[in-house]
């Protein structure tokens, strides 16, 4: 099968390694669909940057054999998830640095971010923290060498190939370009995270 490789993880998990982020999204969507239809019994389906982890599997070797028979989902690169528009005040501490790094004016830097359509590639770091893919590879932004001890909740940052929004105040090494008032994570909401994997996201100027 093309574009993926399966590795057993411990006694109850399986890691699917994909060629790129588009294949991760295709597999994540396919696995969520199959679970929804009752064809897959698994406790967790956790996408990563280049992998999808299936945790809480009774027999990982058997599942790997079954999955090898499935037709591989097409990695179209176009997300089909719902669109969430996040209003952002673009006044981040690192906006001038990012503008210089990209060799753009701050206005054009904001335009570049605001006109991108992002997709939630995966979550991690803290509940509701979504890694937003969608910036072209040549626009990657290095992380801060020394993370800040405290980044306020709602801060919008860039790091590597991703954009992200801090759901709560925490230490952080992302380059901060702005902030939003939207609540990223609320345990009384279903789902609790505003940005779940597969969601399309726009970071529009507030």
């Amino acid at each position: 099968m093309t574009g993926m490789r399966m590795t057993e993880v411990g006694r109850a998990a399986l890691l699917i390694e994909c060629a790129d982020g588009d294949h991760v999204e295709a597999w994540r969507a396919e696995l969520w669909r199959r679970r929804e239809r009752g064809e897959l019994s698994v406790a967790e389906i956790v996408p990563g940057a280049r992998t999808v982890l299936l945790d809480g599997v009774t027999d990982p070797a058997d599942l790997a054999r079954r999955m090898a028979e499935w037709p591989p989902p097409a990695a179209t690169g176009t997300a089909e998830g719902p669109l969430v528009t996040v209003p952002v005040v673009y006044d981040g501490t690192d906006l001038p640095w990012v503008a210089e790094h990209w060799e753009l004016s701050t206005e054009d830097t904001v335009d570049r971010i605001a006109s991108a359509e992002f997709r939630v590639a995966f979550c991690g770091f803290s509940p509701g923290f979504a890694y937003l893919a969608g910036l072209p590879a040549e626009w990657t932004v290095p992380r801060l060498a020394n993370p800040r001890p405290k980044v306020p909740a709602g801060s919008v940052g860039l790091a590597g190939e991703y954009a992200g929004i801090y759901p709560t105040a925490s230490p952080g090494g992302w380059r901060l370009v702005g902030r939003t008032e939207r609540v990223l994570f609320d345990v009384d909401r279903d789902p609790p995270a505003l940005l779940v994997p597969g969601t399309r996201v726009r970071l529009v100027p507030a």
Partner: protein, 280 residues
């Protein structure tokens, strides 16, 4: 139930909140699930009811109504209204009595179950305190009041066999998923040398010290989902075994996965750990 003396770290724990890892929510839950399940069975609760996880230095609570409790996990002295009571059996406490759990004598984490269970409102399906993300009730403080649910009938057991935690902890591991990121010497060191549980271990992970595990390749691993028991190796080469409050994704390679991490809940700093490869 009133918390008279919370001790350094006493938390509410049930069997955790699995199912939300894709949103970055750790599983959390009791570090020693068999001990919590047993305590619950002793007092007639469902096995997944919430109890107290008491770390090393004990705690004291007052039951406002008469009720039954049981202490399991790390062995510790228990008194009810100043009178000695038994470990590992259902104990009836009169209304207003102070239940005092002493310092752990063997092991690290004791579990106190009360008939009816601790009935704080669940968060994402669980009452567990997650020390990494802050979900669930905060670690307990002196003067806190916890609601208790309606009690069922306690079990009639009057003796539960107890085994002291072993002096050397033998853990079964399965290599991978990132064994190929390490030298074969690193794999041999993991399976062939002894490690020691470090004092900075907590609910997130058991840190070990011993032979450093050398990488066979440079660079960063793109963040990927991690499981309970993953043996993650950061830049220092000293392994870290993920426990209940572990982050859901990580960027350090995982050399192996421990089959059962619950014995680590009772491993004091300084405990010797040996890993054994497991047949596939």
């Amino acid at each position: 139930m009133d918390i008279v003396r919370a001790g350094p770290l006493t938390t509410v724990q049930d069997l955790g909140r699995p199912g939300w890892a894709h949103l970055g929510v750790p599983r959390s839950g009791a570090l020693d699930p068999p001990a919590l399940r047993l305590a619950n069975r002793l007092v007639g609760n469902a096995e997944d009811a919430a109890g107290l996880e008491i770390t090393a230095a004990g705690c004291a609570v007052r039951l406002r109504k008469a009720g039954t409790f049981a202490l399991t996990g790390a062995l510790a002295r228990v008194t009810v209204g100043g009178r000695p009571a038994c470990y590992g059996v259902p104990v009836a406490a009169p209304a207003g009595a102070v239940v005092e759990v002493g310092r752990a004598e063997y092991g690290v984490r004791s579990y106190l179950a009360v008939a009816g269970g601790i009935a704080v409102p669940p968060v994402l399906g669980s009452r567990s305190t997650d020390t990494l993300s802050g979900l669930g009730p905060a670690p307990l403080r002196d003067g806190d009041v916890l609601p208790i649910g309606p009690a069922a009938t306690p079990s009639t057991v009057d003796f539960v066999p107890w085994q002291a935690p072993p002096a050397v902890l033998e853990l079964r591991v399965r290599l991978g998923p990132r064994r190929d990121w390490f030298t074969s010497a690193a794999v041999e060191a993991l399976l062939g040398t002894q490690y020691t549980v470090s004092a900075v271990s907590n609910r997130v992970g058991a840190r070990l010290s011993g032979a450093a595990l050398a990488r066979a390749r440079e660079g960063e691993l793109p963040s990927e989902g991690v499981v309970l028991g993953a043996v993650q190796v950061p830049a220092s080469g000293q392994p870290l075994i993920f426990l209940a409050d572990h982050p859901t994704t990580g960027g350090y390679p995982v050399i192996a996965v421990v089959d059962d991490v619950s014995p680590l809940a009772q491993a004091l700093p300084g405990t010797t750990v040996r890993f054994h490869g497991s047949e596939r």
